[in-house]
Amino acid sequence: MTAKAATLGRKVEYTDSELIALYLKDQNPLYFSTLYRRYAGKVFGKCISMLNDEGLARDATQDVFIKVTLNLAKFTEQSSFSTWLYSITYNYCIDLIRKKKKMPMVFTEDMGAVHKGADVEIADSVILEMETNRLEKVMELLPPGDKAILLMKYADDLPIREMGDILGKTESAVKMQIMRAKQKTQAIYENMYGKDPIV
């Protein structure tokens, strides 16, 4: 989301970039609070989806914003603030899962479960039209990298190039990961609900 403006005080409206510049200049926490209120919900939502645990998501949201405070001077505006914030969020959650579960596998491909011949294009409706309760349960079983890539594409509407920047992958690799993540989603759905139609 490219935030156009936010209200700070009564009348003055600031964009994300203006708030960052003002915070870095004056070190006034009020500017950072405005940024927090604008994005905390988004960050928390992503943390819950990635970590499947409200308590962990709460701590992760706090840690992400503290990380942002400490690194705000390094933000170069090559991407929007929201993209930068989401990249910190996704990478923080993936690292946390890696450490907690001691699992180096992040994407379906890493698990070696995908056969080369299985590159069948899956319709977006697998994700977009699945009933919300079922989607929630299926998402819980996806590997963290697949979850992140599906959220970036279908919830954040990020372009492939930005997704590549966030995950440190090429555009073609990102497209391949999206396809694999959709295949995995469909496989988990069929495992849980049999041949019950998705749509």
Binding site: Q27, Y36, R37, F44, Q62, T132, L150, A155
Partner: protein
């Protein structure tokens, strides 16, 4: 505003609404602490380093500010200087 054109966005919106209010004071407290320490560092560290340099026999930083380029400035009263 996000357009709810798919169920993943709807699911995310439900989760975003669950944001606990107690995170904000904790984050704000941390931000206040960082701001305080960065101001302390900005104010005191240059002088502390200067003092340490003098103590080990090094040269102090070249003088700066009004009158710094005037070699006879020390002869004049502060009122004349400014």
């Amino acid at each position: 505003m996000m357009i709810m054109d798919n169920n993943l966005k709807r699911l995310q919106a439900q989760r975003e609404a669950m944001l606990p209010p107690d995170i904000e004071p904790r984050v704000t407290h941390q931000v206040h602490t960082f701001s305080f320490f960065s101001k302390v560092v900005e104010l005191f560290v240059p002088n502390a380093l200067d003092t340490a340099t003098r103590m080990v026999g090094g040269e102090a930083m070249p003088p700066s500010g009004p009158g710094a380029t005037d070699p006879d400035g020390w002869r004049r009263s502060p009122r004349q200087l400014y």
